[in-house]
Symmetry: C2
Subunit: 322 residues, 2 copies
């Protein structure tokens, strides 16, 4: 995921988003407030608000009108994090305690739903059904994606298409929608709105594949979580997919990845096989492909100082060394 320096052109607006987030997670319920404070404190890069704001900055300098959508996008993202807590068994998210570990499954569900409802309430202020519909359609696809991800665990026979569909719905769609909404709120011409949607989509795909590579090759300190955490959960990502098809040790790898026990017990061995395979290079090439496609969309957009930042974000994906 990109570094914060890229968000400098919308730094001021992101500060406003931050204080709005706190206000929107306010509830009469003490318990809900505690959950909200967790989420706010846990921080994060506010990547989705940033993309909505950066996209809008192509059209306007004054971004007040975009703030509610930017806040809503982050709330939707937060709601998915809270809902993920129910299942993931990830007792640590972004370093602070999760809602689940503090309060239990049911609170996670209703807190997540509450946050979604707050997001909706913000979106309703635009009085624009096109904006709502973009979010609703994306939400449906994201839910389907979560289920696909779940059903795909430990399945070594699924191919590239399944993987791309999973990461699309896990990461690319909401970044894509963020860029799209930023443009829509500024009444950008339809073909430019489409270009920004695609830009966000391709960039999001690139981000997620990069993250998936790092999960295998980066050390624990850089990652902020143990290496191979995808593997441990049975999530088969692009480098492993490639290795499963072409690596000389593919049979051993398939045996290990198909077993929930081995995924936990033999993570180091799996990491060794995958990181020693050509899967890393292959995944990097796919990342580059998406980053190039993202940059190409930018050619369709009007010139504005912020366009440079949008190029740089794609360059950042391209420049990663593995």
């Amino acid at each position: 995921m990109p570094e914060l320096k890229f968000f400098q052109p919308v730094e001021k607006e992101l500060a406003t988003v931050e204080s709005c987030l706190a206000g929107n997670l306010d509830s009469q319920l003490h318990l809900m407030n505690q959950a909200a404070v967790h989420l706010i404190k846990a921080g994060g890069k506010r990547m989705r608000p940033a993309f909505a704001l950066l996209a809008a900055k192509l059209y306007r300098n004054e971004l007040d009108e975009v703030i509610p959508a930017a806040v809503a996008l982050e709330l939707i993202h937060m709601a998915t994090l809270v809902h993920d807590d129910v299942i993931d068994d990830s007792s640590i998210r972004r370093g602070t305690e999760t809602v689940k570990s503090a309060w239990g499954n049911r609170v996670s569900i209703y807190a997540g739903n509450y946050i979604l409802a707050r997001a909706l309430s913000l979106i309703s202020t635009y009085q624009r059904s096109d904006v709502l519909d973009v979010l609703a359609q994306a939400s449906m696809k994201i839910c389907e994606g979560e289920i696909i991800q779940m059903l795909s665990c430990y399945n070594v026979n699924l191919g590239l298409k399944n993987y791309l569909r999973r990461i699309e719905r896990k990461t690319a769609l909401l970044i894509s929608v963020s860029c799209e909404l930023g443009a829509m709120i500024c009444h950008a011409p339809p073909h430019e709105t489409t270009a920004l949607r695609k830009y966000g989509y391709y960039l999001g795909m690139g981000f997620q594949i990069t993250d998936d590579i790092l999960d295998i090759v980066a050390d624990e300190k850089t990652l902020g979580k143990p290496t191979g955490s995808d593997i441990r959960q049975g999530v088969i990502t692009l480098p492993a997919l490639y290795a499963l098809k072409y690596d000389p040790q593919r049979e051993e790898l398939a045996r290990l990845l198909a077993s929930p026990e081995a995924c936990v017990k033999d993570t180091p061995r799996i990491v060794e096989i995958v990181s020693g395979s050509d899967g890393i290079d292959y995944a990097y090439a796919v990342t580059q492909h998406f980053a190039f496609k993202a940059q190409k969309q930018l050619d369709l957009l009007p010139d504005a100082p912020v366009k440079e930042t949008l190029y740089d974000l794609a360059d950042f994906v391209l420049a990663r060394e593995f």
Copy 2:
């Protein structure tokens, strides 16, 4: 809850709602479809769509425009049912958390979210932010209510206010919103929209208290579930609340209701104390109070044949014999 005969004036429209429900729960995902088929088959009275349609029928005979909202209301109700399926954290911790039970949780969450997103998509077709906002505000309150309910279990020191807030958010709010949306979509004058919202609210309160009484006094066959199922789950309803305050056996009752074990083991004894107390009569009096208030709101509404049905629905609450 009311009998189906009351919904006869909108029978035709309810049939349309039914087929739209099936269409809206359709997904590319096999697993989602299985969950959906389960929900459709499980049936239910489609009470929320019925109220939206009945309210609208005060203003129009042709209700095509109301159908999407009616379907959305039922989808929102279904989503809460699906989310309620999520296993409590404690029961997971006690038992063995198998992969299957974890999947069950995941599917419940994302299937619920998917259904919510479908509802939103339908609502977006109205291009009306007032409609969306009414739903968003109600959703927030309902989520808060679920958490209140959860936190109130086994707590014998909570009073009437807590109980009313719980049932408001459990039942009354969505019925209230159903009536309100029916009126809004027909562009009813604001004071009539408010009257219909209040009508739905009071009636919903009456329904829920009636259900809470029946859970204690009705036999298993009438109920379709074991008598005392609220008690078993530690949910303290109005008759028990009254008995806890005024019954000579209130100390024994408090001891039993405060213990999760006793709520399961000694349900018959608890039912015996509560049903022998004046709590049943008291709760019935409160029900009557709400039913009268509901009928009073109807005085503010235009005359139309369907108004009789709306009166009858409140009469139905009044006429219950316990």
